[in-house]
């Protein structure tokens, strides 16, 4: 029993190590990007494209300022609130649509309409409805992120293996047991990629809505940097937004997803694993 537990622990440590080790490849990619950026800087000069190191320094200066943290926190809070609402609404709607064909037929055209309206139009509408408040940002994020989650979850629910459902029924599982032991587990594999995309767009849309609605946060800071023609500071803010997104994605979304996808990795031969 204890050896089995120790084995499981070692296995887990191994996977964490593998995950951390894969970070080198990510760093190499970022370094390549920085090199291209530096080349652009040397070609076009300081005003158009400040050097990556200068941007980093500006970013560090901003990061040292507690007021900046407040701004970033404001944006994060709005994005996360909108994201949470979108995740809940999208997951519930997607499950309903995946399990009931009639709901799916009703939801499809609505979704097409929602996706067809440009996000910028939503910002304008939300500004009229809510003024320059958190509500504007959260509504815009909600509208932008819900369809992504909805489509992912609905696709998961539709592609569930009905053979497994029959198997569970043969062993006496009721509808609720089938949903919790089979349906949700299958949907989870589709939910997490959708959540990654939704979280990314939540941040991006939040910053954009803040900039346009002039409601503070990172978007507000960007607007100020633009007014001052301070390219280094604008880029630094972009850097901070991206860094926050990367941090969330690699500390939260990826580990959870790889836990769910463990069985898929099990079949891959050595060397092909990430």
């Amino acid at each position: 029993m204890t050896t089995a537990r120790a084995g499981a622990l070692l296995d887990r440590l191994g996977r964490v190590g593998q995950f951390l080790w894969s970070g080198w490849a990510g760093l190499a990619g970022l370094a390549l990007f920085a090199a291209l950026w530096q080349a652009g800087h040397e070609r076009y000069g300081d005003f158009i494209l400040p050097a990556p190191l200068a941007t980093l320094a500006a970013g560090l200066t901003i990061a040292a300022d507690p007021a900046a943290w407040e701004l970033a926190g404001q944006t994060t809070l709005r994005a996360v609130e909108g994201f949470a609402l979108a995740a809940a609404a999208g997951a519930a709607g997607g499950l309903a649509a995946g399990y009931s064909a009639a709901t799916m037929r009703l939801a499809r055209p609505i979704l097409t309409v929602l996706l067809g309206v440009p996000p910028i139009a939503w910002i304008v509408l939300a500004m009229i409805w809510f003024g320059s408040t958190d509500g504007t940002i959260i509504t815009t994020v909600l509208v932008a992120a819900t369809p992504v989650v909805f489509v992912g979850v609905a696709e998961g629910a539709v592609t569930r293996d009905r053979g497994l459902d029959d198997m569970a029924r043969a062993f006496g599982a009721g509808p609720l047991a089938r949903l919790t032991t089979l349906g949700l587990r299958h949907v989870a594999a589709f939910l997490f990629p959708a959540l990654t995309v939704a979280l990314g767009s939540a941040f991006k849309v939040a910053v954009m809505a803040e900039l346009l609605a002039n409601t503070g946060g990172i978007g507000g800071a960007l607007a100020a940097a633009r007014a001052n023609l301070d390219v280094a500071e604008a880029l630094a803010w972009v850097l901070i937004a991206v860094a926050g997104l990367i941090a969330v994605e690699y500390t939260l979304v990826h580990p959870i997803r790889s836990e769910f996808e463990r069985w898929r990795n099990a079949a891959r031969p050595w060397g092909v694993k990430r």
Binding site: G163, D166, A170, A177, R262, A266, A267
Partner: protein, 257 residues
């Protein structure tokens, strides 16, 4: 030559079962009674509705007409494809019905390991995912899953059709052995008469169009007690002399009604 053990209390009684898919009748007026502990092989040409009948008897499909009376305590089921949860290890798959029964984790684990032992699944393989197992191993896991809940009746829905000949024999022996050891009754769906004669007390032949049971033949001897020569002779006898088996191999499943 007719029924074998009809005097004992029946474990499964199907009366007047009828079923239709999208208006097309696939089963009509099927009556079948299985005695306690009896292993019956249900044979018939492809597309005659034997799988549907097993699904109805096991409660997977609601019949359009008729009644199913189950007098056994608990049943397990083995399907043609293993139907394992791809995200769960072999051990968790075997324990899945135990989880549905709400047993504590520790007991699930122990009973899953016992069931795995009965089908000769290696302990080292229990931590693997289905995708890492061979076809035979997966079907063994599916059989262990059916046995883990300690059933007194098991449905087999053409479980070994996709396996090669040698593996098929090993699996049949495994089922014969398990049925003898645990004394469960079974309804074994197959289109392979050889398999039916090896495994069952009684062969039930279904009508080619799903209109009831065409007839039934007791197989002399006990499952596991018949040697290969006996099995060959019995099958050859059935096919050449018995009019009941005349149509068993010659129907195309894509026929229109």
């Amino acid at each position: 030559m007719t029924r074998e053990t009809t005097d004992a209390a029946p474990s499964l009684t199907l009366s007047g079962i009828g079923h239709a898919y999208l208006g097309r009748t696939v089963l009509d007026a099927v009556d079948l009674t299985l005695a306690a502990g009896e292993v019956a092989a249900l044979v018939g040409p492809s597309g005659c509705g034997k799988s549907t009948l097993a699904h109805i008897a096991a409660g997977v499909v609601e019949p359009s007409r008729g009644r199913v009376a189950r007098r056994y305590r608990r049943h397990g089921m083995v399907f043609q494809d293993p139907r394992l949860l791809p995200w769960a290890t072999a051990r968790a798959n075997i324990a899945y019905p135990l989880r549905l029964l709400g047993l504590p984790r520790r007991e699930r684990r122990e009973r899953a390991e016992q069931a795995a032992q009965r089908v000769a699944l290696d302990r080292a393989d229990l931590d693997k995912f289905p995708i890492e197992l061979s076809g035979g191993m997966r079907q063994r896991t599916a059989i262990a899953r059916a046995l883990a809940i300690d059933p007194d009746f098991v449905y087999f829905d053409e479980p070994f059709t996709a396996l090669d000949v040698a593996l098929k024999r090993r699996m049949q022996d495994l089922v014969i052995e398990a049925a003898r050891g645990a004394r469960f009754g079974a309804l074994f769906i197959t289109h392979d008469l050889m398999e039916a004669v090896r495994i069952a007390h009684r062969v039930v032949v279904m009508d080619a169009h799903g209109r009831g049971i065409a007839g039934t033949r007791a197989v002399p001897g006990k499952p596991g007690g018949r040697d290969d020569g006996t099995v060959y002779r019995l099958v050859a006898g059935f096919l050449s002399d018995d009019p009941l088996f005349r149509h068993i191999h010659d129907i195309d499943e894509r026929r229109t009604p």
